[in-house]
């Protein structure tokens, strides 16, 4: 007798009616604001309906108002746990539109930052999966390492979370020696912490019982639902944009792609752990490669789009003109239409940019992975217990900023 469409109770049901439970926008634990209205029969979920939009901030409309470099702080707030990846993705898109070729050192530094951001995001996701199963310790231990990553961001761009890192054509300032020291320290100390976390969780009987078989999805259904990223890799498809369509010199690196089998929560957890190990190895390779390159190159030589040095602005005429044009937003952006995607922490983060030659884009659309795969949630938890539904939600790594944009 519930109002949702045609609910038929399962065979073994003791109840006569289903109960409507509102897993409302205000959740305990730190999930984000989205709502699930569940119809439950006792403890079993019969059907569910999701509502999003509680943090809709109209990014796409704002982007039509702002010049290209002012859109970078907007992209920060999409997937705010790994904001450098969004920033770099946007810069790579604009560089593709303008035909700018970045030097190798810039690419390798970008790879270091992006992989660090990926580690940060997976730390939160796996920590929160632990918290939802009752294991608060892992989360608390891992947050220390996020602080170290935040210190690295601070050395480079000044801010911790919403980094606004990099510019079109490179970085705003060179990496300081202190930044490199901190990255080395991270590379030495973090593997031990990750190993400790794995010892706590991977073969923990309670954790395995709570996450295995929960929310499985087959590869065909996952592809039909538009899954990408670790959730798709847990279902068995080894699609990774860093390998399929390499950007920012990812083709120079050697890494493997962890792939799961059943697509359930345990596989997603293990895939994310595996990706963290791979990211560490990529950062190590990038640090070695960067040592061999000239240390003062940190941006491409495109004075029309990248702010020139202040000393040049005060002495040379062309630099002064470029500086003025860039700051006033009068740069000549070429008209064009472009779709570019990077491998975000949650999957394929795409930017569909239509430029008409003006100072701001004509249309900018973000292809947000969370929004697309959250549709599958109703199918993932059908017939599961209520507590499994919660674990499934946190293992999908739903970031509210990316859901609603």
């Amino acid at each position: 007798m519930s109002e949702q469409h045609n609910i038929t109770l399962p065979e073994g049901s003791i109840e006569r009616v289903t109960q409507t439970l509102n897993l409302g926008p205000t959740h305990p634990a730190t999930h984000g604001v989205f709502q699930n209205i569940l119809e439950i029969d006792g403890e079993r979920v019969v059907s569910s309906e999701s509502t999003v939009g509680y943090i809709h901030r109209a990014f796409e409309k704002i982007a039509e108002r702002r010049p290209y470099y002012q859109i970078t702080p907007l992209t920060d707030r999409l997937n705010y746990c790994s904001s450098p990846i969004n920033n770099m993705g946007w810069h790579i898109t604009v560089e593709k539109l303008l035909g700018i070729q970045t030097p190798k050192r810039v690419d390798y530094l970008r790879v270091i930052i992006m992989e660090l951001a990926r580690i940060c995001d997976h730390l939160i996701c796996n920590g929160v999966v632990g918290v939802d199963t009752g294991a608060f310790t892992g989360f608390l231990y891992l947050m220390r390492w996020r602080e170290l990553a935040y210190e690295i961001y601070e050395e480079i761009c000044g801010s911790r979370l919403t980094t606004n890192i990099g510019r079109v054509g490179g970085f705003e300032r060179n990496f300081t020696p202190a930044a490199f020291e901190k990255i080395e320290k991270f590379l030495v100390e973090f593997p031990k912490a990750l190993k400790e976390f794995e010892t706590l969780m991977n073969r923990n009987r309670i954790f395995m019982e709570r996450t295995q078989g929960v929310g499985p999805i087959s590869a065909e259904r996952a592809m039909n639902y538009g899954f990408t990223g670790p959730n798709l890799r847990a279902a068995g498809v080894d699609y990774d944009l860093r390998v399929a369509h390499p950007y920012s010199s990812y083709e120079d690196f050697e890494f493997s792609i962890p792939v799961g089998t059943t697509g359930d929560c345990y596989d997603r957890f293990l895939v994310r752990n595996g990706e963290m190990w791979e990211s560490l190895s990529i950062i190590r390779q990038a640090m070695d490669k960067v040592k061999g390159l000239p240390a003062d190159v940190f941006h491409a030589d495109v004075p029309a789009y990248y702010l020139p040095e202040k000393s040049d602005v005060y002495t040379k005429m062309e630099a002064l003109i470029y500086h003025f044009k860039i700051i006033m937003g009068e740069t000549d952006i070429l008209p064009g239409e472009l779709y570019n995607a990077v491998e975000g922490a949650n999957g394929e983060l795409g930017f569909y940019l239509i430029s008409d030659g003006g100072r701001s884009p004509y249309r900018l659309h973000f292809r947000r992975p969370c929004f697309i795969y959250y549709q599958a949630y109703a199918e993932l938890i059908k017939g599961a217990m209520l507590s499994d539904a919660l674990i499934c939600m946190s293992s999908l790594n739903l970031i509210a900023g990316e859901l609603d944009a």
């Binding site: 939009g53 109209a58 593709k96 592809m223 538009g226 399929a244 292809r367 929004f371 549709q375």
Partner: protein
């Protein structure tokens, strides 16, 4: 054999002839336009064909061109072939007076919410969609905000002074 843009273009024109128009290649990706009645047929063909195999819908969105009379709203589909790693962009134009387009949800489950978002922002009415209602904005909203004629700011706010933001009291850049 690897799938090139020319081969895809040739297969499409062989099958659909004149209906496939404005074929161009931007940044390595093939774009083409089809009339709005054929959007499902083209996508089904691209899905089923053994060599083309475009079985993944990457993105579905719309663009508002107020200057193109009779064809103001363009619904843009981005399709992807996993095996050959080829992207494709398909556009379907519809007018703003009668913005009805067939839904792609029967073919791709991921189109469900993407079409709701497109409806929410542009007012494109997807015929056959199981649940076409607003997804990101408040349900009571009666206009489609991403269309070019509507401003970004909420006009009823009293604490922000448009003069100070360089907007001079009237909305526009």
């Amino acid at each position: 054999m690897s799938l090139t843009n020319d081969y895809i273009k040739q297969r499409l024109t062989d099958k659909f002839g004149e209906a496939v128009s404005q074929v161009e290649e931007t940044f390595g990706m093939l774009n083409f336009t089809v009339p709005k009645d054929l959007n499902l047929k083209v996508m089904q063909f691209l899905y089923d064909d053994e060599e083309l195999q475009f079985r993944f819908l990457t993105d579905l969105t719309a663009v508002h061109y107020p200057d193109r009379k009779g064809e103001e709203l363009a619904v843009v589909y981005h399709l992807y072939n996993f095996a050959q790693r080829v992207r494709l962009r398909m556009k379907v134009y519809t007018s703003v007076e009668d913005p009805r387009v067939f839904t792609a949800t029967r073919l791709f489950e991921s189109a469900n919410w993407m079409e709701r978002e497109t409806y929410d922002f542009f007012g494109v009415n997807f015929v056959g969609h199981p649940n076409l209602k607003r997804i990101l904005n408040v349900d009571e909203m009666d206009y489609f905000p991403m269309r070019k004629e509507f401003p970004l700011e909420d006009q009823s706010r009293i604490d922000k002074d448009d003069e100070m933001f360089g907007r001079g009291g009237h909305i526009g850049i």
